[in-house]
Amino acid sequence: MVNGYFRYIDYGGSLEYYIFEIANYSFLVLLLCLCYKLRFININSLIVWTGIFFVPLVLNYFIFSPSLFPDQFQYALEVMSLKSKGISIDAIASQNAQFSLNLGYLGSISIPTNPVTFSTTFLGFAPIPNFMTVTSLAFANKFFLFVSFLGLKKFFFKDENILLLFFLIPSLLLYTSLALRETLIIICSVFFLLNMLKNNYIISLIFLLPLFVLKIQMFAFLALYFVGRLVFRANNSLYMLVFFLGFILLASILLQDVILQIINYYRLGFAAENMDLGDGIYGYYAFSLYGEELAESLELTSILEVVFASIAGLPKLLLMPYPNTWSSIFYPIQFFESIFLILLYWSISVRNNLLKNKEFIYLSVILLLSCMLYSLLVFNVGTFVRYRFSLFFPFIIALYYLATLERGNKTKLLK
């Protein structure tokens, strides 16, 4: 859709801003009423989703400035540029990041490989009336989150009310109410894992591939899960799981140089991004001035060191933001939420006797490996609280699905 109607103007928190965004909210609530009438959702979902859809209106420009998550502007500018001119904004267009596939007589398909363009192209399909401000994309995110709720309810979970509770986790409410790509990452990861547990490998692959563009590290973690389950059958026997882990270790040692280079590159990048020398000297600029010593101290030199450093960093990743770093209202909420999610993971597995379930063990091992890798990169608390949540949430949903399968099997046996 190339339409001059969409143009980015910074409306701030003006009357026009609220008119445009309340229209988006109204449209989504009308959709909810329609879904209720068509019996896709029950009354509880109708009420709760009416509230969930309202959250974007009270975040940007109301509770906090959208500059708190400055990436939002890039997404907003990109979606409006794509809609009004059909091309990316200059900063993205200059990267010329796209994958073209020639289909002969049928022409060719171009898929953007820039994560911002890719996600905004997709979010732009949300049938909301206005794409006028950063909050419009938040409503687009909410639309796709609701569609995924319908999908989960239809194909995976019978109990709509319990499923609804998962959508009330504070971090999910927050990140899906911003103009970021976290929603798409979470949706793809959730459907990938659930389809894997259902042995739908082709469908899983369809959900896995977009992650290559959206979030390469999520793609790597889930691809590991995919290979381990499909090739090694690590979910069927503990021996195969040990063999799979041994294979990973051996491959890591053989490819040590490449792996260390990648890990050190990202460690350095995240450390540089978070460096603050005061007096307005921060980020990459500060790092370019005084980063030499820091770079040396951060460098990991062997796989063994990687393993130790990742284990040592695990508690920090799982529990951050620690109370001594609380600098905004979200931090205490996210701290207690992280404890709650760990307890929830534990509680679901114990209550449903999953501790000896091989599928559960394999799922948890992959989650642990992913967390260990993330723990090597934790320098910016805000960023990694977000990354941790988009990793942890899909695994919790998958675990809950595993628990419902287990309960179903037990009921069948009892009959």
């Binding site: 350095l268 990048g269 000297i281």
Partner: protein, 299 residues
């Protein structure tokens, strides 16, 4: 076709039709739809058309410092670093600073902004209306309110009106503002950017001058030929720095596109306001009917 049977298209279509007639096809929807038109017209009538004034700038790369080489994968990292020099941050801080507001004040911009361009009014005697909240605050906390506008107000005006954006990993800086007067917007933005840049240059000239003065003092006391040579080199370097700064060229930035205005007002967006208000009012009508029909379920 068991798949289609499962979807129950016929019953869903009936429910859809029912939904339309029960909630949309109502007199209240028509009334509120018409009310939305009046409401939109009122908003548009009471809004001041605003033009979008913007300028595209680029950081002056010669200002940035060279980066040390760390070897290995760090070279790639510094390709990012090189595009992230601190000029933008400094330029931005200057634009929003009090000292720049004061200089703009001295140049008479307060008359343009607060006195409608009436040059007969003393710039320091422009009456400032006080809000109820301000009056209440002064009464409760026991401080006096200023009766006239000051550079502080101009600083607030600049902070709220002028926006500076730099693309992430990009090079261009966009300075923009919304204003009802195109000519005022273009001149104000141009003057503001040049004043901020000139201030940065003045500061650096003063700094270099101070270094030269201190170095001369050291030079007169120095007995070591190596130290003397080094001090002389410092004086040469700083003198050259002053020479390069003593001109009319911009220092932090250079213009890709000087300030210009949009051809037509960009806000209020009439089309979007009409559509949005129509959706909101129809939504209110649907919700009214929906809640009335489902109050048993909802409560």
């Amino acid at each position: 076709m068991s798949f289609l049977k499962k979807i129950e298209i016929k019953s869903k279509a009936l429910l859809l039709k029912e939904f339309f007639y029960d909630y949309f096809w109502k007199k209240s929807s028509l009334n509120l739809g018409l009310a939305s038109l009046i409401f939109s017209l009122a908003i548009i009538q009471f809004s001041t058309p605003q033009f979008y004034i913007s300028a595209t700038l680029r950081e002056n790369k010669s200002v940035g410092s060279s980066s040390p080489s760390l070897g290995g994968g760090s070279d790639n990292l510094f390709s990012i670093v090189s595009s992230e020099s601190n000029s933008f941050g400094e330029f931005r801080s200057n634009i929003y600073s009090y000292i720049i507001a004061q200089r703009m004040w001295e140049k008479g911009w307060a008359t343009e902004i607060y006195a409608g361009g009436d040059k007969s009014i003393d710039v320091n005697k422009i009456d400032k209306p006080q809000t109820l909240a301000d009056r209440l605050g002064s009464l409760l906390l026991g401080y006096e309110l200023y009766d006239f506008y000051s550079p502080h107000d101009l600083q607030d005006f600049i902070s709220s009106k002028v926006d500076l954006q730099k693309e992430i990993k990009g090079t261009n800086i966009t300075v923009s503002m919304l204003t009802s007067d195109q000519n005022f917007g273009i001149s104000f933005l141009n003057e503001l950017m040049l004043t901020a840049d000139k201030y940065a240059k003045e500061f650096l000239i003063l700094k270099s001058q101070a270094i030269i003065d201190a170095t001369y003092k050291q030079l007169s006391e120095s007995r070591n030929s190596a130290i003397t040579a080094s001090l002389a080199a410092t004086i040469n370097k700083e003198s050259l720095h002053i020479a390069t700064l003593t001109n009319d060229l911009p220092y932090h930035i250079y213009f890709i596109d000087p300030p210009y205005s949009s051809e037509y007002p960009v806000t209020p967006n009439t089309q979007a306001i009409f559509i949005s208000n129509f959706i909101i009012f129809i939504f209110l009508s649907v919700m009214y009917n929906f809640i009335r029909n489902h109050k048993e379920d909802l409560w």
